[in-house]
């Protein structure tokens, strides 16, 4: 066989993601029955979790109303009702973990086998070592990157689905319980209907905007950190594979290793600062969100238009909706991790495709 020319992969985002999903969909295409069963199970768990969350929110209202009335019998009844609700919530959380991890394991298995098959066919695993730039360290891509690339989409999409449903369901709670409020401005009285809904939208919008301002480099920095780690591993691997290194060669390799390590450390330093900045917002939100909810509800409670139970229910719903709005903010890091792993899996697959195409051309030329 004639030696191949060096393959250099210059790829854009779209090309990489298309290639990744093309390969990743193998599980959903070939094991349709199992995949559909798991998807239905996970969706059912999300819906049931939402149901329990609504029931717990109502429980809050009834429990605190009974406390306000000093109604011992109802307090006791509500305390008893809490047990099955908590048990349901705990069981559903456990079922969700089982469902998610089973789906992730099955998906990972299918994608890993698919990549291994392509990688090992016609001894391509050996040829790739010398031919393709951008597909270094294939073992790591096959084991770790495939795992991250198949784990994250399931967690992220379920969390997204759950956030959307939660936000809309609890909007209803906030609209009904909060009702309208009269605000005096510039000598005129203005009625704001469903003011808690507007309050939560404004507050969440502010937190998301702050997070974007404070952490808008975070995803790209995480991606670069992961890439730098991969390059460092590849450099160490090359160093190890050097058969009998010449002294000069060894010095160059050592310098390269130190350079790659320095790049890793610099990216980690920037990652640290990005996390410090976003923590200012996320921890601030953790402290402020419940208090903002109580403050928004306080005027109606103090005027007697809202009971203590309604106050706690509305405040809890406010925090739940705010948490649902935070999906993007909470998953910034996982999204970045997923993107870089998906890119690395796709780069390896495209390098194999390129090699496959060259093999085809070689065959045509010789026949």
């Amino acid at each position: 066989m004639r030696p191949f020319q060096q393959i250099s992969l210059i790829l854009d985002e779209r090309q990489l993601l298309t290639r990744f999903w093309q390969a990743a969909s193998v599980f959903w295409r070939t094991q349709t029955g199992r995949a559909a069963t798991l998807a239905v199970f996970l969706i059912a768990v999300v819906l049931l979790q939402l149901l329990v969350q609504v029931a717990l929110n109502l429980w809050n209202r009834h429990f605190f109303d009974a406390l306000e009335r000093k109604d011992a019998a109802t307090v006791w009844l509500q305390a008893q009702l809490f047990v099955p609700l908590a048990a349901g919530s705990i069981l559903l959380a456990a079922a969700s973990v089982w469902g998610r991890m089973t789906a992730q394991r099955s998906w990972r298995e299918a994608l890993t086998l698919h990549v291994i098959e392509k990688w090992m066919e016609k001894d391509r695993c050996r040829q790739l070592n010398h031919l393709a730039r951008g597909s270094e360290n294939p073992e790591y891509r096959i084991s770790v990157d495939v795992r991250i690339a198949t784990d994250a989409p399931i967690d992220l999409s379920l969390a997204f689905f759950s956030s959307i449903l939660t936000a809309f369901t609890f909007f209803g709670v906030l609209w009904t319980i909060g009702g309208s409020i009269d605000v005096n401005a510039f000598g005129r009285s203005v009625t704001i209907p469903g003011y808690l809904v507007f309050g939560v939208i404004l507050y969440s919008g502010m937190i998301t905007s702050l997070m974007i301002i404070f952490g808008h480099h975070l995803t790209s920095v995480i991606e670069r950190t992961n890439q730098a780690e991969a390059e460092f591993r590849a450099a160490a691997d090359t160093f190890r594979q050097e058969p009998t290194p010449q002294n000069r060669h060894q010095v160059d390799r050592r310098e390269t290793l130190h350079l790659k390590l320095q790049a890793v450390l610099l990216w980690w330093r920037e990652f640290c600062w990005q996390l410090v900045r976003t923590t200012l917002v996320s921890h601030g939100n953790f402290l402020f969100a419940p208090v903002v909810a109580w403050i928004l509800c306080a005027p109606k409670y103090l005027s007697g238009a809202m009971s203590l139970g309604e106050l706690t229910q509305a405040a809890a719903a406010f925090v739940v909706v705010q948490g649902a709005f935070n999906w993007f903010v909470d998953n910034y890091q996982r999204l970045a991790d997923w993107r870089s792993s998906a890119h690395r899996v796709a780069t390896l697959l495209l390098a194999i495709d390129e090699l496959e195409a060259k093999e085809g051309n070689e065959k045509k030329a010789t026949s």
């Binding site: 670069r224 130190h258 350079l259 390590l261 790049a263 450390l265 610099l266 990216w267 920037e270």
Partner: protein, 142 residues
């Protein structure tokens, strides 16, 4: 004296260190090793790189190469012929000491001030560290 190593970061003080090291190398017939420690990248530069297609390793490598090439031209103008270029990475003090040990240099020449005043105050200056811990004679050029 067989080997003189000069550490440079491209600054004016480092240029004076190169001149002193090169003059000594020429006078004694010693080999001259020009060393730079790469990797001082600011947060703003990193964020710019993160948002573009730029590669950090390449950026650091070419910045180090540029400093070394300028240093070599300077030393060649002073008549030194045997010049080796070296790059180290990481903490400047540690990386310079490591390079001195590996190259078995007899003399290390450095400029007095490379770091900012604040970092020198907090971390101690590189030249002070080298004067204390380098395994050879150290010449600190003001």
């Amino acid at each position: 004296m067989h080997r003189i190593i000069v550490a440079t970061d491209g600054s004016t003080t480092a240029n004076r260190a190169i001149d002193a090291g090169a003059s000594l190398a020429k006078a004694t017939g010693a080999d001259l090793i020009l060393l730079t420690i790469g990797g001082s990248v600011t947060g703003a530069e990193l964020r710019t790189l993160a948002d573009t297609a730029g590669d950090l390793s390449d950026t650091m490598q070419s910045a180090a190469d540029k400093i070394l090439k300028q240093a070599r031209r300077r030393a060649q103008r002073l008549g030194v012929r045997s010049i080796t270029l070296k790059t180290g990475w990481g903490d400047p003090g540690d990386a310079i000491i490591d390079a001195v040990q590996r190259s078995k240099a007899d003399l290390l020449v450095v400029g007095r001030r490379g770091q900012s005043r604040l970092s020198a105050l907090l971390l101690g200056s590189v030249s002070q560290k080298l004067a204390s811990f380098a395994p050879c004679a150290v010449m600190v050029v003001p």
